[in-house]
C-alpha cells in the first residue's frame, strides 16, 4: 500500500525494466518521425540498443533458488 513511496525512488538509480522499456518506446517514437535526420537516427538507434543491453543486464539471467527467512532474520535456501 501507499505511504513510504518516495523513499525507494531515490535509492533506485538503476532504471527498472519498465522504465527502460518506456525509454525504448520513446526512442522508437523518435525513429518513427518522418523528419528525423540520418545522424539523429543513428544516435537514437545506438541509444536504443544500449537500453536493450541495459535491459539484459537488469534481467540478471541467473536462475534463482527460493530463499527462506530463518529465525535470526537471515536467509537460507528453501
Amino acid at each position: 500500500m501507499a505511504k513510504k513511496k518516495e523513499e525507494k525512488t531515490e535509492k533506485e538509480q538503476v532504471l527498472s525494466l519498465e522504465e527502460t522499456f518506456a525509454q525504448i518506446e520513446e526512442v522508437i517514437g523518435r525513429l518513427e518521425a518522418e523528419d528525423i535526420t540520418l545522424e539523429q537516427s543513428f544516435a537514437e538507434y545506438n541509444r536504443g540498443m544500449a537500453l536493450l543491453a541495459q535491459c539484459n543486464e537488469t534481467i540478471d539471467r541467473v536462475e534463482k533458488k527460493v530463499l527462506k527467512i530463518n529465525e535470526d532474520g537471515g536467509l537460507d535456501e528453501f
Binding site: M1, K3, F42, G48, V62, E63, K64, I69
Partner: protein
C-alpha cells in the same frame, strides 16, 4: 377436601419458585432465533429453539444495548438473562439482557463489522491501491512453509520467470499466533526490499482463514510500502485482507501469475524492439538513399552531355520524320501515276487490237476510214494484235 387455590395464587407460587432458583436468575442459553418480532414499543419478542425444544423470549427496550446486531430468523445466538414467570398468562419465558451471535455467526458478525469500519476509514479505497509492477526481480511470499499454497506460488513463479528471486517468510497462517506471524512476515519482506509481496494461504473454513480478517493484519497490509497481492483460500473466500491489498488474487497460483511476468514475453518484447529499431533505421537510410537517387537523376538530366544527347536524338527523329514525309509523297505520286497509266491503257487503240479488232491503212500508211480511199486491186496494210497483213482489195461494197 383439600384447599382450593385461585389461579393467581398458583401462578404467584410458581413465580416465587423461579425467582428463588439461583440458576434461573442468571442463565445463558444457546439456540436458534425464530418468530422474531420487533415491537413498536421497542420490546423484542422471539422464540429460541433447538432440535428438541423451544422457549419464549422477550427483550425489553431498556435492555436493547445488549443486542449489538439486527436479530433475524434462523440466527444461532447465545442469550443471557433470567427465566421468569409471567403471572397473568401463567407462562414462563426468558427475559433476555444480552444476545450474542454464536460461533461462526459471531465471526461473520465481527467480519462484517470490521469490513464496514475499515471501508468507512477508506482503507479499501482505490486511491490507495498501488499498481503491481510488471517486471519484478524479488518476490516476497508470506505463507505457510508447507502446503499447496507455497508450492503453487513457487512453481508458477519460477516457471514464468526462473530469474526472479523468491523469498519466503514461513508464517503461521492459522490459530492465535497467525496474525502476529503474518504481520512480522510483511515487515521482514518489506525490509528486504522485495518488489511485490504475496500474502496468503490455501483454502479453509472461516475460522482457518480468520487471521486474514484481523484488523492488525489488514493494517499491516495497508501500511506496507511494497505492493501486496492477497491470495487467501479459494476464489469464493474473501477476507478483509483481500479488500485492503493492492490486488486480490483468487488463488495462490493466480497470485504468482499476477506477480511474476512471463519471461518469454519480456524476451519477445525486447526482440520486437530491436527489430523495430533496425527496421526504422533502415527505413530512414532508404529514405535518404531515395532522395540521393532522385537528386542524381535530376542532376544527370540537367548535365550538358544529357542535353547534347537529347538534341541529337531530336535531330535523328527530325530526319526520320523528313524521310518518312518524303517517302510518303513519292509513294503518293507513284500511285497516282499507276492510276493514270491504267486509265490511259483503256483508251489506247492498240489495246483494242488485243480484243480482236484490226485497223487498216493504205500503202502510204494512212488510216483507212472510208471505201473511197482505195481502189479495187490496191494493196492495203491490215494491223492486228501481233503484226500486220499485206492485203489486196478484191471488191468494194458500200455500207
Amino acid at each position: 377436601m383439600q384447599n382450593v387455590y385461585t389461579v393467581a395464587q398458583v401462578n404467584s407460587y410458581i413465580r416465587n419458585m423461579f425467582t428463588q432458583d439461583f440458576m434461573l436468575q442468571k442463565v445463558r442459553i444457546r439456540g436458534e432465533v425464530s418468530n422474531c418480532k420487533y415491537h413498536t414499543s421497542g420490546h423484542i419478542y422471539f422464540t429460541l429453539k433447538d432440535e428438541k425444544s423451544a422457549i419464549s423470549c422477550v427483550m425489553f427496550s431498556s435492555d436493547r444495548r445488549g443486542l449489538p446486531f439486527r436479530m433475524t430468523e434462523g440466527q444461532q445466538v447465545v442469550v443471557s438473562g433470567s427465566v421468569d414467570v409471567y403471572e397473568r398468562d401463567g407462562k414462563y419465558q426468558l427475559y433476555a439482557r444480552q444476545i450474542e451471535l454464536d460461533g461462526i455467526g459471531a465471526l461473520y458478525e465481527r467480519y462484517e463489522r470490521l469490513k464496514a469500519e475499515l471501508a468507512e476509514r477508506g482503507m479499501f479505497d482505490e486511491a490507495y491501491k498501488r499498481p503491481i509492477p510488471r517486471y519484478i526481480r524479488v518476490l516476497g511470499v508470506v505463507t505457510a512453509e508447507t502446503g499447496a499454497a507455497v508450492r503453487d506460488i513457487i512453481n508458477v513463479a519460477t516457471r514464468r520467470n526462473p530469474y526472479v528471486q523468491v523469498i519466503l517468510y514461513p508464517a503461521t497462517v492459522q490459530g492465535e499466533a497467525a496474525a502476529p506471524s503474518i504481520i512480522n512476515g510483511i515487515h521482514a519482506l518489506e525490509r528486504l526490499q522485495t518488489d511485490t509481496i504475496i500474502v496468503g494461504r490455501g483454502g479453509g473454513s472461516i475460522e482457518d482463514l480468520w487471521a486474514f480478517n484481523e484488523e492488525a493484519v489488514a493494517q499491516a497490509v495497508f501500511d506496507c510500502s511494497v505492493p501486496v497481492i492477497s491470495a487467501v483460500g479459494h476464489e469464493t473466500d474473501v477476507t478483509i485482507t483481500d479488500f485492503v491489498a493492492d490486488l486480490r488474487a483468487p488463488t495462490p497460483s493466480a497470485a504468482a501469475e499476477l506477480a511474476v511476468c512471463d519471461f518469454r514475453q519480456i524476451e519477445e518484447r525486447m526482440e520486437e524492439y530491436e527489430a523495430t529499431m533496425q527496421h526504422l533505421c533502415r527505413r530512414t537510410i532508404q529514405r535518404y538513399r531515395n532522395r540521393a537517387a532522385q537528386y542524381g537523376m535530376r542532376l544527370r538530366y540537367l548535365s550538358p552531355l544529357h542535353i547534347l544527347r537529347t538534341k541529337k536524338t531530336q535531330a535523328v527523329s527530325l530526319e526520320e520524320h523528313l524521310q518518312a514525309a518524303m517517302e510518303g509523297k513519292l509513294q503518293e505520286v507513284r500511285h497516282r501515276l499507276a492510276l493514270y497509266a491504267a486509265q490511259m491503257k483503256g483508251l489506247s487503240p492498240l489495246d483494242k487490237l488485243s480484243q480482236g479488232y484490226a485497223y487498216a491503212s493504205d500503202a502510204t500508211g494512212k488510216t483507212l476510214s472510208s471505201v473511197e480511199q482505195v481502189a479495187v486491186g490496191e494493196q492495203i496494210q491490215v494491223y492486228v494484235k501481233d503484226g500486220s497483213l499485206l492485203a489486196q482489195v478484191q471488191e468494194k461494197r458500200n455500207g
